[in-house]
């Protein structure tokens, strides 16, 4: 690795920290300066003034705003997210660390399916340009991008879970004690868990496959015009070899960056699907926390999702500049 790249990475890293700091500050302002007291739902009308004051003191809400802000930043830096209001005795971190793996499994499996189908589909569409297959395929992809994911999820649920009773309808496992897995490994090894993952994964993949497919298709069409592709055709390589070895390999680069960014944005976008399938992940917890006015939990969930997105944006930037130094800083603008 040369020096220029090291400086570039360091610069990007500092910039990401800066972005994160601004987001966290906005979050603080949003939660503290809100018209309603953050404890409003927590404080009973029967509370005496003393009880109320004691409660405010317990959550540090009696201190001046500036001091609260400093404490808040220090706590976030140490990943201390406080206690929840609605789950008694549990810390925000407890809840979120139980949710995070579920969200990650769902995100990664759906992205994997989506990008495999998308890349292969994009190659096929480019190879068969102008054919009936291409027209039907692009129309289908356009429709999957226009249909609301939660609605697609509802339709799949009503057929596969309720009409034909082939797949489970909600959650990550039956609500029986023996399906409370001891470790994440046990969960991942359990066929029951994977059966529960099929429908949400498929629903998300149906939506997510559009971007890699369209990207791959247009990159392929561009690459196929290049001289080196013509050269390898003239050199007598088979059409298959030209498509896969020469063209597809070069057309893949922007798709890989899109995938890296996709991880971050999907974690933020899974919220709706997690709620359709009662998937115990970050998004479902965020929605519940907001509904129950559990501000520490909502704030923690939002912070975690933002952290993942900023981190993945950073990784995508680095990846792009390492793979293709020509593009450098404009990488993000192309795919996000």
């Amino acid at each position: 690795m040369n020096r220029g790249i090291a400086y570039y990475i360091l610069g990007r890293f500092l910039q990401s920290l800066m972005v994160l700091w601004i987001i966290v500050t906005l979050l603080f302002l949003l939660f503290r300066l809100a018209p309603s007291n953050p404890l409003a739902s927590y404080i009973d009308t029967t509370f005496t003034k003393e009880q109320e004051a004691a409660l405010l003191a317990r959550f540090g809400l009696d201190k001046p705003l500036g001091e609260q802000y400093i404490i808040y930043l220090l706590n976030l830096a140490r990943f201390e997210l406080g206690d929840t209001f609605s789950y008694s005795g549990k810390s925000v971190l407890d809840i979120l660390s139980a949710d995070l793996p579920n969200t990650i499994y769902l995100t990664l499996s759906s992205l994997l399916v989506a990008y495999a189908v998308g890349v292969l589909g994009g190659i096929a569409m480019a190879a068969l340009r102008g054919s009936l297959f291409e027209r039907v395929g692009t129309t289908f992809t356009l429709m999957t991008r226009a249909a609301p994911t939660f609605w697609v999820g509802m339709l799949l649920l009503s057929f596969f879970a309720f009409q034909w009773k082939l797949l489970p309808s909600a959650g990550i496992g039956p609500a029986v004690v023996r399906y409370r897995w001891e470790t994440e490994w046990d969960k991942l090894m359990s066929p029951v868990f994977w059966r529960h993952m099929i429908l949400p994964t498929f629903t998300l993949a149906l939506y997510l496959h559009g971007l890699p497919l369209l990207l791959m298709r247009s990159n392929m069409l561009e690459v196929l015009d290049q001289d080196y592709v013509t050269m390898s055709r003239l050199a007598g390589y088979s059409e298959w070899r030209v498509m896969i070895h020469t063209a597809a390999r070069n057309a893949m680069l922007p798709v890989l960056t899109a995938l890296t960014l996709g991880i971050g944005y999907s974690i933020g976008g899974n919220v709706v699907i997690e709620n359709v399938f009662s998937w115990p992940g970050l998004g479902r917890t965020l929605v519940r926390a907001v509904q129950q006015a559990d501000y520490p939990l909502a704030q923690g969930a939002f912070f975690l999702i933002a952290l993942i997105i900023v981190f993945m944006n950073f990784i995508a930037d680095i990846l792009y500049s390492l793979l293709d130094p020509r593009v450098g800083a404009s990488a993000q603008a192309q795919v996000s």
Partner: protein, 326 residues
């Protein structure tokens, strides 16, 4: 969705000829005309919007019933879960004491689904167009200022765009919804605050190219002020790009509004398609296989979103002509 427009990136065609000063507004009009003349799908998208706009305007006249009032039959019983008349067995409903006149049946508390569908077009179009306008206007102004002035203005605005890129969109709306009263305007607000980022970046890079053109220097030499150069000389040539992003933003806004309403963060007194789907979902329409309730709102969302896509693609075809040969 914002990716949709970025999938085919490249410098817009029609460079110098388009940037002749003076005739800028006429050129802009011609570009818009060209989009809908050349691209039949874009025209189709426009027609979809026109039909839905008409339905939204005339909703109280077209809708047979009030969308929120549970209906009663002659005996004073609620007409719950009535099937659409074309699905019901003849005589089945009459036996229960009312004549079935419901095109799409009723909900579990006896609201008319077809009337809800008609009224739902109002929130969809209202949110879609106002959010798109906000996104396009803010993005265009940010792009123009950042690109034209450069320096610290550019740095501040583009770092702000980085921040906007780091904020998860749907979670942000949910958090906003926690602090403000439930309303469809939350979606518009959140989109205006966050989604100018794509438009802003693309327009900025376009302005960087345009401001080097001869007619801009000519204007500067002849003593035109910065603001005049930006809004009179440069803006008309990048406006088609704003329309492109605006059309995609309509689609994005309608989808987002539906998702947020589905999650239960919309005003329960405003009917929207997302709200209808939430209502169906919570009252177990899925387990009963009540497709007459589930399918129509989703189809309406899909149609309006596709209309936005079609128009956006029409602009792409005209602005990025190299794609045409593909």
């Amino acid at each position: 969705m914002q990716q949709e427009a970025m999938v085919r990136e490249g410098p817009p065609g029609k460079t110098t000829a388009q940037f002749r000063q003076g005739s800028a507004l006429r050129q802009l009009w011609e570009t818009n005309l060209e989009v809908f003349q050349r691209d039949k799908m874009a025209l189709f998208g426009l027609c979809i919007f026109a039909v839905f706009a008409l339905v939204a305007l005339l909703a109280p006249l077209i809708a047979p019933n009030d969308p929120l009032t549970p209906l009663k039959n002659a005996d004073g019983d609620w007409i719950k879960d009535a099937l659409p008349y074309w699905l019901a067995e003849p005589g089945e409903d009459e036996a229960e004491g009312y004549t079935n006149e419901f095109f799409l049946g009723t909900t579990n508390i006896g609201r008319d689904i077809f009337s809800q569908l008609i009224h739902g077009s109002r929130s969809a179009l209202l949110v879609g167009f106002s959010a798109a306008a906000a996104v396009a206007v803010i993005g265009t102004i940010v792009g123009l200022l950042a690109g034209y002035y450069g320096g610290w203005v550019d740095t501040v605005l583009m770092r702000a765009a980085d921040v906007a890129f780091g904020i998860p969109f749907i979670p942000f709306i949910i958090v906003i919804a926690a602090f403000f009263d439930p309303s469809i305007w939350n979606v518009v607000l959140a989109m205006a605050v966050l989604l100018w980022r794509d438009t802003g970046r693309v327009i900025r890079s376009q302005v960087l190219v345009i401001k080097e053109q001869a007619f801009v220097s000519a204007a500067r030499v002849s003593g035109a002020s910065d603001l005049r150069i930006i809004f009179v000389y440069i803006a008309p040539s990048i406006l088609p790009l704003s329309f492109l992003y605006g059309s995609f933003a309509i689609a994005w806004a309608i989808l987002t509004e539906a998702s947020v309403s589905f999650l239960g963060f919309s005003d329960p007194n405003t009917i929207s398609w997302g709200f209808m789907l939430q209502d169906a979902f919570l009252s177990l329409a899925l387990t009963r296989g009540a497709f007459y309730w589930i399918i129509p709102p989703g189809l309406c969302i899909m149609l309006t979103v596709m209309a936005g896509f079609f128009i956006g693609r029409g602009y792409e075809e005209v602005l990025f002509p190299r794609l045409r040969r593909m």
